[in-house]
């Protein structure tokens, strides 16, 4: 089956579990070496399976490394493409779900690239998310290379409704709110965040989970790329903003943790942010943000 850029494969969700187990695979990618990184993704997905996990999550640009600059054009692949097909085979073989990050080449042009999160299940590609907010300040130069995405992503799967976002998207509450309003119970944020920003992400991951009363799984790169040190610290945050599991800072780590969807009702009744939403404010947000 060939999927178009906005098409998704919806799993039935009939066998949806109340509890799922995540593997936060906090890796250090080898820059420009897709084969080495794919092998790591494969090995850790098998490890996740052995440890009883349902979903293995890898960081932003885990396929290629983050600081590859002009090499993005050469490393980017279409989705589906060779890498996604290989991860599909991996998911099928292990019965696992896998989320990872890669530079995506547009099917329609030769050099339009997106910073994309890919979501694969045992039955194939579930969907993808193209990063909406591309940091282009400080050490970041994403707008130089990537076209932004225009769609938020939440997918109904056998593991529940799972939404995707990438790194800097966390600074924009409307992205995660929209994902939550689309039905996501678990929001996965893959990231390539350098150490100087650790404190921001530690605050924002908790805030975004709490304000949306949703689980938030954050998986960051580790290691150093061209002087940029990624702080790791991957985590699962509960719908009440508690850090339920946390990977080591700075170095590669692999952590499994459990998402219990039955906690959502408790959280939503205790902090009913979704009940108390005021839609008319969103019109005002639009109006005023256009006047900055």
């Amino acid at each position: 089956m060939i999927l178009g850029s906005q098409d998704i494969r919806i799993e039935s969700g009939n066998d949806m579990k109340d509890k799922i187990k995540l593997a936060l695979a906090q890796i250090s990618s080898k820059r420009e070496n897709k084969e080495a990184n794919l092998q790591k993704i494969e090995a850790l997905t098998f490890k996740a399976k052995e440890q009883g996990a349902d979903l293995a999550i890898f960081p932003e640009m885990s396929l290629t490394g983050y600081v590859v600059r002009d090499q993005f054009y050469e490393l980017a692949e279409t989705i589906p493409g060779p890498t996604v097909e290989r991860v599909e085979a991996l998911a099928k073989k292990t019965g696992m779900h896998v989320i990872f990050g890669m530079p995506e080449l547009s099917e329609k042009t030769r050099a339009t690239v997106f910073n994309t999160a890919v979501f694969v299940g045992p039955e194939g590609l579930i969907g993808k998310y193209r990063k909406m907010y591309l940091p282009t300040h400080s050490v970041f130069e994403e707008k130089r290379y990537f076209r932004p995405g225009y769609q938020t992503a939440a997918f109904q799967t056998d593991l529940g409704n799972i939404g995707l976002c990438i790194c800097y998207d966390l600074f924009f509450p409307e992205v995660l709110r929209l994902i939550r309003l689309k039905g996501a119970q678990l929001i996965v944020c893959i990231s390539a965040s350098p150490s100087v920003r650790r404190s921001y992400f530690e605050i924002l991951t908790c805030a975004r989970a709490l304000e949306n009363t949703a689980y938030l799984a954050y998986v960051n790169l580790a290691g150093v790329e061209d002087g940029l040190q990624f702080w790791g610290g991957s985590r699962l945050v509960s719908p009440t903003g508690d850090v339920l599991a946390k990977a080591k800072y700075d170095e590669e780590d692999f952590v499994t943790c459990e998402v219990d969807y039955s906690d959502l009702r408790t959280a939503e009744t205790f902090i009913p942010t979704l009940r108390d939403l005021r839609p008319e404010l969103f019109d005002k947000l639009k109006e005023y943000s256009e006047r900055l």
């Binding site: 054009y73 400080s138 050490v139 350098p194 150490s195 150093v224 002087g227 940029l228 040190q229």
Partner: protein
């Protein structure tokens, strides 16, 4: 390439840089090779030969009278100031002063020569309030075929965006004798050293490969267009990418709000 236009743009670049820096002219190394002859000619045309000091820096191990003669031809034609400094005695002090110095290690030894020449150029630059003009071209820079902090050390590099084959044509356009423009390039760090032998490829082919890589062409596409084995293109590409560290500032771990050589994006002032 329109070489009249190239000459005009590069000369304007040199002239404006020297004027904005408040410098009294230019100092450059004149080896008798094509790159240094070209920057010498361009500098003279930009700011006048009286304001260009060409240092000839021979040393006994690799002395070549033909190179000195060629350098003098260029100096005479473009009315440059010249100074000959034999660096042999300084090199001997380095060789004797380094406890682990190994004469047979010609690369390490050769790099001492390139860095010693850099010290001379910057001494004259400081002393005379002149800009040090570098002679690196695009082919050598992309291949990392230079000595870090040696021949690549300069304040301005007027021909760094021209491939060697373009530099040769520009040189002829500027009136540099064709014989000099076409003689084999050498860093002259040890006897009988030639660039093409060391790089393992003719500049005519190398430059076309680099031109393709510059434009994001795939290695296969370049090989097909040039009708050469893909392996040759891949070797060039690997060397180009592996030497990025030589082309950039020293690397620092990101610690602060803005970092030197990374995300300080300040305008470059010359005053």
């Amino acid at each position: 390439m329109d070489f009249s236009e190239a000459q005009k743009r590069i000369c304007r670049f040199i002239k404006e840089y020297v004027e904005n820096a408040g410098a009294k002219g230019i100092v450059l190394g004149l080896s008798g090779g094509i790159d240094s002859a070209t920057i010498a000619a361009l500098s003279s045309l930009a700011v006048g030969g009286d304001n260009v000091l060409a240092l000839m820096l021979p040393e006994k191990e690799n002395f070549n009278q033909k190179d000195i003669d060629d350098a003098k031809v260029v100096a005479d034609k473009f009315k440059l100031q010249t100074q000959i400094c034999d660096i042999s005695s300084v090199l001997e002090y380095f060789y004797k002063g380094i406890p682990v110095f190994e004469p047979k290690d010609k690369l390490c030894k050769g790099n001492i020569k390139a860095r010693t020449r850099m010290i001379y150029l910057y001494y004259y630059g400081n002393k005379l309030n002149r800009i040090v003009c570098g002679s690196s071209d695009k082919s050598e820079t992309m291949m990392g075929y230079f000595t870090k902090w040696g021949d690549a050390a300069a304040d301005i590099t007027p021909i760094m965006d021209l491939y060697k084959t373009q530099v040769r044509k520009l040189a002829v356009h500027l009136g540099i004798p064709e014989e000099l423009a076409l003689k084999p390039s050498t860093p002259a760090l040890w006897p009988n050293q030639t660039a093409e032998n060391e790089l393992g490829i003719k500049y005519e082919t190398l430059d076309l490969i680099l031109y393709g890589l510059e434009r994001f062409m795939a290695t296969e596409e370049i090989a097909n267009q040039l009708i050469i084995p893909k392996l040759i293109v891949e070797k060039v590409k690997t060397r180009w990418l592996a030497n990025e560290h030589k082309r950039r500032n020293p690397i620092a771990p990101k610690m602060g709000y803005r970092t030197v050589g990374n995300d300080f994006r300040l305008p470059r002032h010359t005053y």
